[in-house]
């Protein structure tokens, strides 16, 4: 057993999983309340990445930052969260609210349209070039934890800790605050919640704000740790975040957190071991089963999604829907 590889893949998986979990939370929160798959959510995350990049440039860039690096990172995350929060609110107001009483397919199509609209708007504003956070120059990659087989760049630690802190914060908000109680009530039964005096529209707006703000933070964290961003990155992260939300149990907040980390780890381990495992199977089956390379890692991730859809469609933390007839 190559322990160095195993440890490294675990760290990589947790980093990726932290980002997926933050995206999955937005999917799950919106689905929980509106039963809507917000397919534009990945693109909101992409906008967050671009806002972070803009703030980085505005504060002097990597070569000459006007503030301390830690403060710069905090500022990038906060501005992206606020910007994306308002973007999410705008999307809800103009693309989803008018369709709240329409058949379910209508907001789904609208979400797809919003996704392309956001993507093309960013293309128009910032161009097609891959943009680099140059985070490898901001904080040297050799700065971090180097202990035995463990090599972790400090920004990776920042990403994992920030993601966990935000998830914990959200959990406290949902379970311990008045707003959280209103969100849970709205998710449980929107009409009953309204009759009990809850301003459902306001709760929905706040849910969109929080979910989109988390996506904005995920965008900055992805930019920081992976270095480059582009106007179509939201599609990939959105798809994986959606997968994470489904695997965890769409509508469930702990499910989204768990699903994100699970999908991140599954992706990292499949890149690391798919060739060894399929090679072993291939040898045992006399070459009938093909030997697969790392390019097939997404096959593993989406095979997990299909398996869950077939065997446990409510996901790990979800509850089966019971309908009275």
């Amino acid at each position: 057993m190559d322990w160095e590889k195993l440890v490294q893949l675990t760290v990589n998986g947790l980093t990726l999983g932290g980002v997926y979990a933050l995206v999955a939370l937005g999917f799950s929160m919106v689905y929980g309340i509106l039963k809507l798959l917000n397919l534009a959510h990945g693109d909101v995350m992409m906008v967050g990445a671009f806002i972070g990049w803009g703030v980085l440039g505005w504060l002097g860039g990597v070569q000459d930052p006007r503030v301390a690096v830690w403060l710069l990172i905090v500022f990038m995350i906060l501005v992206a969260m606020v910007g994306c929060g308002f973007l999410g609110v705008a999307v809800e107001r103009f693309a989803y609210r008018p369709l709240r009483r329409a058949p379910r397919i209508a907001p789904l199509i609208s979400a797809l349209g919003v996704s392309f609209f956001i993507q093309n708007s960013v293309l128009l504003l910032w161009g097609a070039n891959f943009r680099s956070y140059e985070s490898f120059d901001l904080v040297d990659v050799e700065v971090g934890i180097h202990w035995g087989p463990l090599n972790v760049w400090i920004l990776r630690v920042v990403v994992i800790c920030s993601a966990l802190a935000m998830m914990a914060g959200l959990w406290i908000l949902v379970t311990r605050t008045k707003l959280g109680k209103a969100m849970r009530a709205t998710a449980f039964d929107r009409e009953a919640a309204a009759m009990m005096g809850i301003d459902v529209d306001r709760v929905i707006v706040k849910t969109f704000f929080i979910g989109s703000a988390l996506a904005g933070a995920a965008g900055v964290l992805a930019g920081l740790v992976f270095g480059s961003i582009n106007h179509f990155m939201g599609f990939g992260y959105g798809l994986k975040g959606f997968t994470a939300a489904v695997v965890g149990g769409i509508g469930s907040i702990p499910g989204a957190m768990f699903g994100g980390l699970f999908i991140g780890l599954a992706e990292a381990f499949s890149v690391g071991y798919i060739e060894d495992v399929t090679g072993w199977v291939s040898n045992r089956t006399g070459g009938v089963f093909p030997r697969l390379g790392s390019q097939f890692s997404d096959l593993v991730v989406f095979a997990i999604l299909i398996a869950f859809m077939l065997l446990r469609p409510q996901g790990i933390f979800g509850k089966p829907e019971v309908k009275k007839v």
Binding site: L9, N12, L108, A128, V225, S294, S297, P313
Partner: protein, 382 residues
């Protein structure tokens, strides 16, 4: 109900993909070769202006537009540029190529920038007797046995790049263990395979990895790179990807250095602490003789950063405009006449020497240049 909704979402996504593919394959009628009056002539541009290689196409388009306005000013001509964005997708490239071929004002196309765009458009342009001149498509099969009669390129092919990299990695870097990574596209797969074959023929241990063209995280691929690996050859068209890979190798304490292929050439984006990159044309920013051209471009473009892709496309534009001007000597010209004039090209190159084409449309003579990168600074070797 929830299952149904999720199934609907997946169906909508699948439908979107199918519809866009169908739209991209919609056929259009090809225009026959015609006489043009030579007073209102355009050059088509076929390259990725958006998508993962958008930076490449944007740089090329900018240099082409710079070249056209410079040529117009010097020669009293009125060339214009018609843009065609391939998005680095072959079906899109075909649709765009049809639009360019049907435009009667277009007498030559600059591009396709990427080899797959040439593969899908080459026969169409040949049927329309439309010359296409690329400043970056380097796949061997584009000119081998002349499959596309009107295709030319001002850069050498991968038949030169692959062996150049193999020779350098084995003889100069004396590598014993190499990882070769492709990015699952028509550009990188044949190149990565050629390099792998070449290295193995020299008894070098080679492991193969593969990433997607729009991947931004390679940390799990890096975990597969053994401590005894000396060099990671990355055949990619995304310079920032090569940069991330080199930094993630350092992050995980791996000693291997990254050798990028020509798609990774970008002094502003691929800046490893230590590495190499090969490129099809010398970077004129290192050439004193080209200083005035570089300064002129920087002034015109308001200091846009550039690498090797732009100047090569500028040269392709010069070839096209010169050929059209010669074909228009009597005031009227056909596209076929322009093709003949391109074949006869013999003009000074901005890279030194002259531009001439072989029978099959390859430049004569050419070589790939290797740049050593130390703390992000490029220096040409040999």
């Amino acid at each position: 109900m929830r299952k149904g909704l999720i199934a609907s979402a997946l169906a909508v996504l699948a439908a979107a993909v199918v519809v866009s593919a169908a739209v991209a394959n919609t056929s259009s009628t090809a225009a026959p070769a015609q006489l043009a009056t030579c007073t209102n002539v355009s050059l088509g541009f076929l390259g990725p202006l958006t998508g993962p290689a958008g930076f490449l196409g944007q740089e090329q388009l900018s240099w082409l537009q710079f070249g056209v306005q410079k040529y117009n000013k010097a020669n009293g001509t009125k060339f214009a540029v018609v843009q065609g964005d391939t998005q680095l997708k072959a079906p899109v490239a075909l649709t765009v190529a049809r639009r360019l071929a049907a435009n009667k004002k277009i007498m030559a196309v600059i591009g396709g920038s990427e080899s797959q765009a040439v593969r899908v458009s080459g026969k169409l342009f040949a049927r329309n007797s439309l010359a296409s001149i690329s400043g970056s498509a380097t796949a061997i099969d584009l000119t081998k046995n002349r499959p596309f009669k009107t295709f030319f390129r001002v850069v050498p092919n991968d038949g030169i790049q692959g062996p150049t990299i193999v020779k350098f990695v084995s003889q100069n870097l004396k590598a014993k263990n190499v990882v070769v990574i492709d990015s699952q596209d028509d550009y990188s797969l044949p190149l990565a395979q050629a390099i792998t074959r070449g290295l193995r023929a020299r008894d070098i241990t080679v492991s193969r990895e593969s990433v997607s063209a729009d991947d931004t995280d390679f940390s799990s691929i890096v975990a597969n790179v053994g401590a005894n690996v000396n060099v990671v050859v990355f055949a990619t068209q995304v310079a920032t990807a090569a940069n991330t890979l080199s930094n993630q190798l350092r992050e995980q304490g791996k000693k291997a250095i990254v050798f990028g292929t020509d798609g990774a050439y970008s002094p502003s984006q691929f800046k490893p602490r230590s590495g190499y990159v090969s490129v099809f044309a010398p970077d004129i920013q290192f050439d004193r003789k080209a200083r005035s051209l570089v300064n002129e471009y920087k002034k015109w473009s308001k200091n846009k950063a550039f690498g090797a892709f732009g100047p090569a496309t500028y040269l392709a534009g010069l070839v096209a405009m010169t050929a059209i001007k010669n074909a228009c000597a009597d005031g009227r010209a056909t596209r076929a006449e322009v093709v003949r004039q391109v074949q006869r090209t013999n003009i000074p190159s901005i890279f030194g020497g002259t531009v001439r084409f072989s029978r099959i449309g390859d430049p004569l003579p050419t070589k790939f240049i290797i740049y050593k990168i130390t703390t992000g600074k490029y220096s040409p070797l040999g």
